[in-house]
Structure formats: C-alpha cells, structure tokens
C-alpha cells in the first residue's frame, strides 16, 4: 500500500512537470516583445522594451527560461496578478476557501443524491422514477451551467426575492471589514468562520447565499452520476448471486442495498471522483453568474484581461487536484473491491 502511494505521488510529480511544460509552452507562444509589454505601463516607456527583454532574459532558449520559471514557482513566487493587484499566491490563497466552500457543500449532496436516486431507479426499473431520472439526466447534461444559473437567479431572486447572489450580504460584509478585532479569519469560509467567531447569523446569511449556487452545481452534475449508478445496479441485480439470495429467502432490501449496491459502486466511484475534481470547472460558471468571489471568477476575469500568470497557476492547481483525486479513487477501489490488488 505504501509502495503504491509512493508510486502515485511520483506520478503526481511527473504529471505536474508535464502540465507545467505544456502551460509554459502556451505562454511562450507570446513573442518576447509581447511578454515584455506586461511590464510597460505607458506608450512612452515602449522604448524600454529591448532593455526589459535583455534584463529578464525573455530571449533565452526555451529550457533556460523554463527552469528559471520553475525555480521561481518552486520557491513560491507565482507571479503578479494584474486582476487582483496582488501576488498570485496571495490572491489564490485568499480566494480558494470561497470556491472550496461551494464545492464542499455541493459534493456530498451530489454523491448522496446521485447514489440514492440511482439505486432506486435501478431497482425499480422502467417505473415512473426511472423515466424521470432518465429524462432529468438528459436534460441536465444539455443544460449549460451558466444558463441554468441565470434562470435560477431570474426566478428565485428576481421573482421570489428569496436567495440573493454574492457571497454575503453587504451590511454583514461592512461589519466584518469594520471589526477586524472581533471577527478573525480562520478558514476563510464564512459558514465556518461565522460559527467559530460566535456569530451564527453570519453562517446563516452565508448559507442563504449558498442555496442557489449549490443547487445549480448539484442539478447539472448529479444526472450523470444517477445514470451510472442506475446502469451499475441493473447489471448487478441481473447476476446469479442475487437470484440465489432471493431464492434463499433474503429480503430485497438486504440484497440490493448491502450486496448489489456495493458491487455496483466501482464505476460510480470513478465518475464521482471525476465529477468532484472537475467541479472546479463547473464552479467557474456558477461564480461568474452569481458574482461570488472565488478562484473561478478570478480565472474568468484573468482570461478576459489576459492575465497569464493566473492561468498558469490555475492549470498547475488543477493538475494537483486531478492526480490527488485519482489517488483517492484508487485507494477507495482497493478498499471496496478485494479482487483488486494494489500493485
């Protein structure tokens, strides 16, 4: 097991190396003049560009620039973000908890609802529930996240005036800014920090602002998980051991939930892992539409304003998330299926 984990971590390093080469290669499609222009504020300073190229070595061969950049990244310097007017690392660490909050609320819901509804649809095949899940799966896959978010906003915020966009209400935000001594930032997530600081109304407010974004994330993503769970259950139920167990008189609940579902979970774990890893992608649309600060909105703003260091940081981060999620999935595999030996 330890050997396996070590090997996977080495794989992580290789993947990150590959990702960094790719992303650096994309950066290098900029000509040296264009990259130097990032340091130039006014047209009058344009004559400084050759000096900047010389000073920062923007004309050097690829591998030299790459290892220089890699050295900087490994020592923690990820560059300066024009959009956030802060070092990339600082902005990233500040904004990450908001996105994490969103995804940490959505992920358990996705997994629980997906597995539950999927098993029910698989057990009661061709029933009303099955057709509803099939239709909602197709529709959910066809819905753009941003469009669904807009529609939810239109209906629930515009018409019913229920769940507002944003991360937190303005007056609470102002209160927090005014009282840095009373409100300390522990995790950066308003839901947890509100409780830790002894102000549950902050948590409640943050949760109200979370309802629509989490609903969007869940509905768009859960459909796929339901389908995979459903087909897995159908396949398991048709197996011989289920027939034997029924013949022996075991009740359906035990067979289906205890035995069949456990075996059907393997492809579901893969899909669930992929969905959770790529939920960062979904949260970009959600954060942009609901005007929530977080790495997704920062990424969209950086892309529009051509802020390259941010994109490089995000790609590296995604690489890390991807490999770690795969590692966790593989460990779960071995835990659930004793036939799979790690090695």
């Amino acid at each position: 097991m330890i050997a396996f984990i070590t090997r996977r971590l080495l794989f992580l390093i290789l993947v990150l190396f590959g990702v960094s080469v790719i992303i650096f290669g994309i950066l290098m499609t900029f000509s040296p003049e264009r990259r130097a222009a990032a340091y130039v504020a006014t047209p009058q300073q344009a004559k400084d560009i050759p000096r900047i190229i010389e000073q920062y070595g923007l004309d050097d061969p690829f591998y030299q620039q790459y290892f220089r950049w890699l050295g900087e990244v490994l020592s923690g310097n990820l560059g300066w973000s024009l959009v956030a007017t802060r070092p990339v690392r600082e902005a990233f660490l500040y904004l990450l908890p908001f996105t994490l909050e969103l995804n940490l609320c959505a992920a358990p819901l996705i997994i629980l609802i997906g597995i539950f509804l999927g098993t029910q649809a698989g057990i009661h095949r061709d029933s009303g529930l099955d057709h509803v899940t099939r239709v909602s799966a197709i529709v959910g896959w066809s819905l753009p996240t941003f469009l669904f978010a807009l529609l939810l906003l239109m209906v629930f915020y515009g018409y019913f005036a229920l769940f507002p966009p944003g991360v937190i209400s303005d007056d609470i935000a102002i209160w927090i800014a005014d009282h840095p001594d009373i409100y300390r930032r522990f995790t950066g997530m308003y839901t947890i920090d509100g409780l830790l600081n002894g102000h549950p109304e902050i948590t409640l407010d943050a949760l109200t602002h979370l309802v629509l974004p989490v609903t969007t994330q869940v509905i768009v993503v859960v459909a796929l998980l339901m389908r995979v769970m459903r087909s897995g259950m159908i396949e398991e139920i048709s197996r011989d051991y289920v027939t034997t167990a029924r013949a022996k008189g075991a009740d359906r609940r035990t067979i289906y939930l205890l035995h069949a579902r456990r075996n059907a979970l393997i492809p579901v774990i893969t899909v669930a892992g992929q969905l959770v890893a790529f939920s960062m992608e979904g949260s970009i649309a959600v954060e942009v539409v609901f005007n929530r600060q977080g790495i997704g909105q920062w990424l969209a703003a950086s892309a529009t304003q051509l802020d390259m260091p941010v994109l490089m940081c995000m790609c590296l981060f995604m690489g890390v998330v991807f490999v770690i999620t795969n590692l966790i999935i593989d460990i779960l595999y071995a835990h659930i299926d004793p036939r799979i030996r790690l090695g």
Binding site: I22, I138, F146, A300, A303, T304, G319, V323
Partner: protein, 301 residues
C-alpha cells in the same frame, strides 16, 4: 436483395434500432429543424449587410431591451439588437463551432489513437503519457489558457477547443483498436497478405469507430455549451455578433427587471438560452440513442 450484402443489412438493422427509440426521433426532429433554420437563415432573417451577415442589425443604441412586437418578432436585446435575427444566424454559428471543433478534434484523436493502438511499443507509450498529462487540466481551463495566448474571437475559441478536445477520442480509439487487433479475422487478413494500411482502413476502423461516433455526437453539444460560456464571459465573438452565448452576455444586466416586474426582460435570456438548450438536447438525444443502438450486448434481443 439487401440480404446479400451483410454490411447493408447491419446498417439497416442499426437504423431500425436507432429509430425505435422515441427520444432518438425527437432528437432527429430537433436537429433537422435547426438544420433547416441554419440553411434558410438568409430567407428567414434577411441580412442588412450582405458582406457581414453575422453582425446583428440594431435600430438605435438604447441599452434597454424592448419586448416582442410587430417589427421585432422576438424583441430586442440590450443595444437594440434584433433577437430573432441573432437566434436564426446564431444557429449557423453554432453549427460552425460544433462541426469545426468536433471534426478537427476527432480527426486528430482518431489518428493518434489509431497510431498508438496499432503500432504499440514506444509510440503507444509516448502518446498515452502525453494524453494522460493533458487530461489533468479541465477543458474549460485549458481552452481559456489557449485563448489568452492566441487572442479573443470566435475563430480562436474554435481552435483552442479543438486543441483541447482531441484527447477524448484517443483513448477510446486506442482501446477499440487494441481489442480488434487481436481478433482472428485481422490475423487471417494479415496472413493472406493484406497490407497493414488496408487492414486498418477496411476492417479495424469501421468497427472501432462506433464509440468514437457516440462521443463525437455528445461533444457537439458540449462544445457549443463551452463556446457559449466563453462568449458569455467575453472571450468569444465580439459584441453584436450573432452567437447565442454572446446574446446571453448582452442580457446580463437585465436578468432581473425592476422590482414591480422582475421578469420583464425574460425574452432576452429565454430565446437564445432556449436555443442553446434545444440544440444541445438534440445532439445528446441522438448520441444517447446511438450508444444504445451500438451496444453489442443489447443487439438481437
């Protein structure tokens, strides 16, 4: 007569299996409807400027959308762009984006997957490691990074997406070829002296292509969604271009109307948004039906 040609017989049976599914019929109906709209776009919405028909005409510059009336059938969006015109010509844009991205990506993916699967060895290793690495970054993030490097615009979005999405096809093609390569009929053909190239073309490719087709159909929809989102954020088509995502971007300030009538500007979002949903739904329904039809376990009862 058809029974003498096994491929035609199988083809007809597959068609029967596809169209037995009512959702598939719905998908094809929707698809043909959009095709009709796209082809007849100049007739349905005559362009004001024949040299650049994709720029929506606008009467005035007022930012407040106007509801549907006699002149503007679907109303106007912010900037007084005609929504009907945008929706009709946006169909053409959607087809352009989808077909270009999926076409190029599938070609590249099939070629690389075929090379990796058929030759094996070091070629296989190199290609698959590269694909593994490039899979680590989500589609949208990588596409945004490429668009930042290459610049904005619809063409660059298409190129960026094509450069990202080919990875979906490599693994599927490769696994299909690996399964088929060891089959007896391939060995028999090889022993008989059929050239490698002919084996790939006539025997392996037609059999390995089915899962790729399913993914291609689903991707048509996904790519339109991703391109629409990138246009919505501002990375895509310029303001006033007939692109559904761009039209939703124009409506961004008018999602919620005034307090007494919050849904006043529903038409700015619902018409282009509804088109996106229906377009993607059509491709997804067909892809789903294809997947069921191609599943060998379900064939012939």
């Amino acid at each position: 007569m058809i029974e003498n040609y096994p491929r035609l017989r199988e083809f007809r049976y597959t068609l029967f299996r596809i169209f037995r599914n009512p959702t598939a019929v719905l998908g094809f109906v929707l698809l043909f409807f959009f095709l009709f709209v796209a082809v007849c776009a100049p007739l349905l919405a005559p362009p004001k400027n024949p040299y650049n028909p994709y720029m929506m005409p606008h009467k005035g510059y007022s930012p407040i959308p106007r509801p549907p009336n006699s002149t503007f059938v679907f109303g106007t969006t912010s900037g007084q762009y005609d929504i009907f015109y945008g929706v009709v010509w946006g169909t053409r844009t959607a087809f352009r984006v989808g077909l270009f991205v999926v076409g190029i990506a599938a070609l590249v993916g099939i070629t690389l997957g075929g090379l990796a699967g058929y030759h094996g060895g070091i070629v296989d290793e190199v290609i698959m490691r590269f694909v593994d690495v490039i899979f680590a970054i989500p589609t949208l993030v990588l596409a945004m990074a490429i668009v930042v490097a290459f610049g904005r615009g619809l063409n660059n979005i298409m190129i960026a997406l094509a450069l990202v999405v080919w990875r979906n096809y490599v693994r599927v093609m490769r696994s299909g070829i690996l399964t088929l390569r060891d089959q007896d009929f391939v060995a028999a053909a090889s022993v008989m002296g059929v050239s490698d190239f002919k084996i790939i073309l006539r025997h392996i490719l037609p059999n390995a292509i089915y899962p790729v087709l399913v993914i291609a159909f689903m991707d048509m929809g996904s790519m339109v969604i991703t391109a629409a989102f990138m246009s919505f954020v501002g990375l895509g088509a310029p303001k006033g271009y007939a692109d559904w995502g761009q039209m939703v971007a124009l409506a961004r300030n008018y999602i919620v109307g005034p307090v007494e009538d919050p849904l006043r500007f529903w038409y700015t979002i619902c018409y282009p948004g509804g088109c996106i949903i229906l377009f993607v739904l059509a491709w997804n329904l067909i892809g789903d039906a294809l997947r069921d039809a191609f599943d060998p376990k379900l064939r012939r009862g």
